[in-house]
């Protein structure tokens, strides 16, 4: 369950932000998570419900945008969306693909009052 440590970090970051905006109740948190992170959204929401209990984040919804894996071919210089980690370049089928997205682990927005 590596989701748990990710959730703990999210809670800590948001709690530290709340006083700045005078928010006492958080309703939703938007996240961008790369597919390489192998995070299971259901596990995230479930774990979050447990760990956010009795805090201003209790009951908030996690809105997760999954960021697809993309690569840059070091041979032909083109960028591609990849189906998995080990895909060859669709253009020149060489194997020198550098991953340029898919590792994101970000909070982008939260909503509350």
């Amino acid at each position: 369950m590596h989701e748990l440590s990710i959730i703990n970090n999210i809670i800590e970051i948001i709690l530290a932000e709340l006083p700045k905006y005078n928010i006492s109740r958080v309703r939703a948190i938007s996240l961008r998570i790369g597919e390489m992170r192998q995070v299971i959204p259901e596990a995230m929401q479930l774990g979050f419900e447990c760990l956010a209990k009795n805090s201003p984040l209790e009951g908030a919804e996690l809105i997760i945008e999954k960021v697809p894996i993309a690569g840059y071919c070091q041979n032909c210089g083109k960028k591609f969306r990849l189906n998995d980690w080990s895909q060859k370049c669709p253009q020149c089928s060489c194997e020198r693909m550098e991953i340029i997205s898919g590792k994101e682990l970000e909070i982008v927005e939260f909503e509350g009052s």
């Binding site: 590596h2 440590s5 970051i13 905006y21 192998q38 682990l105 909070i107």
Partner: protein
């Protein structure tokens, strides 16, 4: 009210890892983070590596594996300084856990710091500790489908040690397939086939490490 923030979820850890890295660079300590599933051979590899290198370099070890203090006791028998981290059941080490142990070493007298991470193929890959290199072990009894199942770790590692090569005749596993699949995920990966309890391939690993220690000393 909506608030835009854009924050890296692991920022707190990354910040401490950066501080650790600065300290290791300043003291010219080569730090390696050894990761694998439980039982793949981390402690065995570390013991062998210490015995081979301890006459030439000053070594320190941080033990994070959760099997009580057994691993730390084995390492202590090699007479190098070792600190056991009590992870309290956590499934990985992080930058702060490493930071908190550093006071127990004399960092001016260490050339190589070896960290044995908790046996787990998932989260150790996500939490940086300020290491120079992530070293991953995969033992042949675990099978050759692991790169596809745990790609992040193969992607983050600098070295992959395919361990327990002596068991190859008894298990169904193709080291060639491990090699191919992991190079697809990480073309820059350095791969050695070894037996941590025999001699197979260990000399190439020792040479790699010696070379990286001397580069760090010159930096």
């Amino acid at each position: 009210m909506k608030v835009s923030v854009v924050k890296n979820i692991l920022q707190a850890n990354d910040r401490i890892a950066d501080l650790n890295k600065q300290l290791f660079d300043e003291k010219q300590i080569l730090t390696i983070n050894v990761m694998s599933s439980p039982g793949a051979g981390k402690t065995s590899l570390i013991e062998r590596t210490i015995v081979e290198l301890k006459n030439d370099y000053r070594i320190g070890v941080i033990e994070g594996d959760i099997q009580s203090t057994q691993d730390a006791e084995k390492i202590a028998a090699t007479e190098v300084p070792v600190v056991q981290i009590n992870t309290g059941g956590a499934c990985h080490l992080d930058g702060n856990m490493i930071r908190e142990t550093l006071g127990q070493f004399n960092l001016d007298e260490i050339d190589l710091l070896i960290v044995e991470n908790v046996g787990n193929l998932v989260c150790p890959a996500e939490f940086r500790m300020g290491e120079d290199f992530k070293i991953m072990l995969l033992s042949v009894p675990e099978g050759d489908d692991k790169p596809l199942k745990y790609p992040l770790m193969f992607h983050e590692a600098s070295v992959l040690l395919i361990n327990k090569m002596d068991l190859l005749p008894y298990v169904s596993c193709s080291p060639e397939r491990i090699r191919q699949e992991s190079l697809k995920i990480n073309p820059a990966l350095t791969i050695f086939e070894i037996s941590a309890t025999g001699d197979h391939g260990l000399y190439d690993w020792y040479d790699w490490l010696r070379q990286k220690i001397s580069i760090k000393k010159m930096s």
